[in-house]
C-alpha cells in the first residue's frame, strides 16, 4: 500500500469554483475529483470529463418499459381474460390501443426513471450502508472541494490554488 499526497482546495461559491477549475485545467493539472453540495452546471465540461451515457441507457430502458406495457396489457386485457372495452368488443389489441396508451406511457416513464436511478447508483458505486467518500463533511452543506494529486510540485500548485480564491488549502495523505 502506497501513500500519496493530495491537495484539498476548498471554495465557498460555485462560480469561483468554476473559474478555479478552468484555471487549474489551463495550467495543465489533472483534477482528480470535485465534491459539491449540489450539481454545478457545466462542471463536467470544465473538468474535461467524458460525456455521460446515462441518457442512452434511459432511452433503452424506456423502450423496455413500452414493450413490457404492450405485452402485459395484451396478455391481461386481450388474451387471458378478453375485455369489452368502451362498448367496443373488438378483442384486438390494436383497435383497443387508445385505452392502453396511458399505461404504455406510464410504464415507459417508470422503467426509464427507476432503472436510470439504479444504473446511476451502480455506476457511482453507491449502495446502502456504504461509507461516504467525500473527504470533508462541509461539502454536503455549503462548501466545494477540489482534489488534486501532488507529484513533486506542491508549492506551485498551492500558490496557483491560492490565486483562484480557495478559502482553505489542505495537504492530505491518502492511503490507496
Amino acid at each position: 500500500m502506497e501513500a500519496s499526497k493530495v491537495i484539498h482546495a476548498i471554495y465557498n461559491d460555485d462560480d469561483v469554483l468554476m473559474n478555479a477549475v478552468k484555471q487549474v485545467k489551463a495550467a495543465k493539472y489533472h483534477i482528480d475529483e470535485v465534491y459539491t453540495p449540489f450539481p454545478v452546471h457545466g462542471l463536467d465540461k470544465a473538468m474535461g470529463l467524458a460525456p455521460t451515457r446515462l441518457a442512452i441507457c434511459a432511452f433503452m430502458y424506456g423502450c423496455v418499459g413500452l414493450t413490457v406495457a404492450t405485452l402485459m396489457m395484451n396478455f391481461i386485457m386481450i388474451e387471458d381474460w378478453p375485455q369489452d372495452i368502451g362498448g367496443k368488443p373488438s378483442f384486438s389489441y390494436l383497435e383497443n390501443m387508445p385505452a392502453f396508451v396511458p399505461i404504455m406511457f406510464e410504464l415507459t416513464v417508470f422503467f426509464a426513471a427507476h432503472l436510470m436511478v439504479i444504473t446511476f447508483y451502480l455506476r457511482s458505486k453507491m449502495w446502502p450502508f456504504k461509507n461516504a467518500e467525500n473527504p470533508d463533511p462541509r461539502t454536503t452543506d455549503d462548501h466545494f472541494l477540489m482534489e488534486i494529486s501532488v507529484t513533486g510540485n506542491q508549492n506551485e500548485l498551492e500558490s496557483l490554488l491560492g490565486q483562484t480564491g480557495a478559502v482553505e488549502i489542505n495537504i492530505v495523505d491518502k492511503a490507496h
Binding site: 441518457a55 368502451g86 387508445p98 385505452a99 396511458p102
Partner: protein, 460 residues
C-alpha cells in the same frame, strides 16, 4: 441592425403573386363547377368504384341524423345527413357546395395558420416579460418582429370568415335558425345566442383590440427602455405589469377565439379542451419560427451575441411544446373515442375515414418526428437540424389546422392542390414581408433591458 434586402422583398412579393395566381385559378375552376358537372363526376367515380368510401360515410351520417331527430339537410355542410335514398340531385348539390367551399377554406386555413404564429409569439413574449426571463432578451426584437403580423393577420382572418359566410361557417346561414326553413337545425338554433354573425364580429374585434393594444404598449416600453438613463427600469417594470395582465386576458380570449374561429365550423360538435389544444399548436409554431428567424439573422452575422445555448433553449421549447400538443391531441381523442357518444365521435369518424393520411400523418410529423429528432441534447444546438425539424413541425401544424377546418366544409372532397398551396404561398409572402419589415425598424439588441448581460452570457 437589419435592413430589409431587395432580394427578400422580391421573394416575398413573388410568393404573394404566385400564391394569388394559384389560389385564383383554384377558385375559378372550382367556382364554375355546376351541379351537372358534379353528376357526371359522381357517375364516373361510381363506375370506377371510387365512391365506395363516401357511401360508408353517408351511412354514418344518416345514423347520426336519425339520432339527432332532425333532418339537417344543409347543403354547405359535410356533416349534414344525406340519406341513401336521395342520392340523386340532393347529393350532387351537396358535393357541388363542398367543391365551392374548398377555395374559401384553403384561404382561411392559411390565413389562420400565419396569424396563429404571430399570436403564439405574442403569448410567448408576454411570458418572457412576466417571468422576467434572463436568457431571452437577446431574442426580444425577433419576437416583436413576428408579433407585428398579428394585427393585419387577425383582421384578414376575420375578414375572410365574414366574407365567406356559410362557405366556412354553416351557422352563418340564416336558414339554419329559421324554424320555417327546410334547413332549420334545432341544435344550431339553440346555440344562436353565441353563434351569430354580429356576436362573432364583436368578439373578434374585442380580441384583436386587446391583443394589439398590449402589443403596441409592450413594444413601446421595450424601445423606451433602450433610451432610458442607466438604472431607470421604469419601462421594464411597466412591461412586466402589462404582460402579466395581458396573459390573463389572452388565456380567456384565446380559448374563445378557438371556439369562434375554428370549433364553430362543426357547430354540433364541442370539445372542452379545444382552446388548450389550439394554444399548444400555436406555441410550437411560434417558437419554431422564432428559432428559424434567429438562425437566419445569426447566419448574416446580425446577432453576434446569440450563442448556441439560445438555439438549444428554443429547440427545447419546440420539443416540449410538441409533446404538450400531442398530450392534448391524444387526451381529446381518447375521451371521445372511449365514451363513443354519436354527436362527439362523428368528428373523429369523419377524420379517420376521409382524412386518414393527413390525420395520422400529422401525428407522425408533430410528435414522432420532433420526439426522435430533437431528443438528443447535442442535436438541439445544430442550426440546420433545428431548421429541418422546424420545417416538418410547421408543415405538420398546417395539416393540423387543415384537419380542423376541411372535414367540416368540404367533406371527402379534399386535396392539397392549387388553392391550398397558393394560399400558403400568399400568406407566407405577406408574413415574411411584414415580419422582416418590423425587424428592420429597430436595433436587434434591446440594450436597455436589465437582463441583457445575463442573456449575453447565457450558457446552459
Amino acid at each position: 441592425m437589419y435592413t430589409l434586402s431587395n432580394r427578400l422583398k422580391i421573394v416575398s412579393l413573388a410568393l404573394i403573386v404566385v400564391g394569388a395566381i394559384l389560389w385564383g385559378t383554384g377558385y375559378y375552376t372550382s367556382h364554375h363547377v355546376t351541379q351537372d358537372d358534379v353528376k357526371i363526376m359522381l357517375a364516373e367515380e361510381a363506375s370506377h368504384g371510387g365512391h365506395g368510401d363516401a357511401h360508408a360515410v353517408a351511412d354514418t351520417h344518416a345514423t347520426e341524423s336519425v339520432a339527432h331527430g332532425d333532418a339537417h339537410a344543409t347543403n354547405d355542410h359535410a356533416e349534414a345527413g344525406h340519406t341513401e335514398v336521395d342520392h340523386g340531385d340532393a347529393h350532387a348539390e351537396h358535393v357541388m357546395h363542398q367543391i365551392h367551399n374548398r377555395p374559401y377554406s384553403a384561404l382561411y386555413i392559411a390565413a389562420f395558420f400565419f396569424m396563429m404564429i404571430a399570436l403564439g409569439a405574442l403569448a410567448f413574449y408576454a411570458i418572457q416579460q412576466a417571468a422576467q426571463a434572463g436568457w431571452s432578451p437577446l431574442l426580444f426584437r425577433v419576437m416583436e418582429g413576428i408579433t407585428y403580423y398579428l394585427l393585419p393577420g387577425a383582421l384578414i382572418v376575420v375578414a375572410i370568415a365574414v366574407i365567406s359566410g356559410d362557405h366556412i361557417f354553416v351557422w352563418m346561414n340564416p336558414d339554419m335558425v329559421n324554424p320555417e326553413s327546410a334547413d332549420y337545425d334545432k341544435l344550431v338554433a339553440g346555440k344562436s345566442g353565441w353563434l351569430n354573425t354580429t356576436g362573432f364580429v364583436i368578439r373578434a374585434l374585442i380580441f384583436i383590440t386587446g391583443w394589439s393594444v398590449y402589443r403596441y404598449f409592450s413594444r413601446k416600453f421595450s424601445l423606451a427602455q433602450d433610451d432610458a438613463p442607466a438604472g431607470d427600469t421604469r419601462y421594464f417594470v411597466n412591461n412586466f405589469r402589462i404582460s402579466a395582465a395581458f396573459l390573463v386576458f389572452f388565456l380567456y380570449t384565446e380559448s374563445m377565439m378557438s371556439w369562434d374561429w375554428i370549433m364553430s365550423v362543426d357547430p354540433h360538435w364541442f370539445s372542452t379542451l379545444f382552446g388548450w389544444y389550439v394554444l399548444a399548436g400555436m406555441l410550437v409554431c411560434a417558437v419554431t419560427v422564432m428559432a428559424m428567424i434567429t438562425i437566419y439573422l445569426k447566419s448574416k452575422g446580425l446577432l453576434p451575441n446569440v450563442n448556441n445555448s439560445h438555439i438549444h433553449d428554443l429547440a427545447k421549447f419546440m420539443f416540449g411544446f410538441s409533446i404538450f400538443w400531442t398530450y392534448l391531441w391524444f387526451s381529446q381523442f381518447m375521451l371521445i373515442w372511449y365514451s363513443n357518444i354519436p354527436e362527439e365521435v362523428t368528428y373523429f369518424i369523419t377524420r379517420i375515414e376521409d382524412y386518414n393520411l393527413p390525420f395520422f400523418g400529422m401525428v407522425a410529423m408533430n410528435f414522432l418526428f420532433p420526439l426522435l429528432l430533437l431528443m438528443n441534447s447535442d442535436f438541439k444546438r445544430v442550426s440546420w437540424f433545428v431548421i429541418m425539424a422546424g420545417v416538418v413541425i410547421l408543415a405538420g401544424h398546417y395539416i393540423d389546422i387543415f384537419n380542423m377546418i376541411m372535414p367540416a366544409t368540404v367533406g371527402d372532397r379534399w386535396f392539397i392542390g392549387m388553392p391550398e398551396i397558393g394560399a400558403v404561398l400568399l400568406f407566407a409572402g405577406l408574413f415574411m414581408f411584414i415580419v422582416f419589415y418590423a425587424i428592420s425598424k429597430q436595433s436587434l439588441v434591446p440594450k436597455g433591458n436589465p437582463f441583457i448581460k445575463e442573456s449575453e452570457n447565457f450558457h446552459y
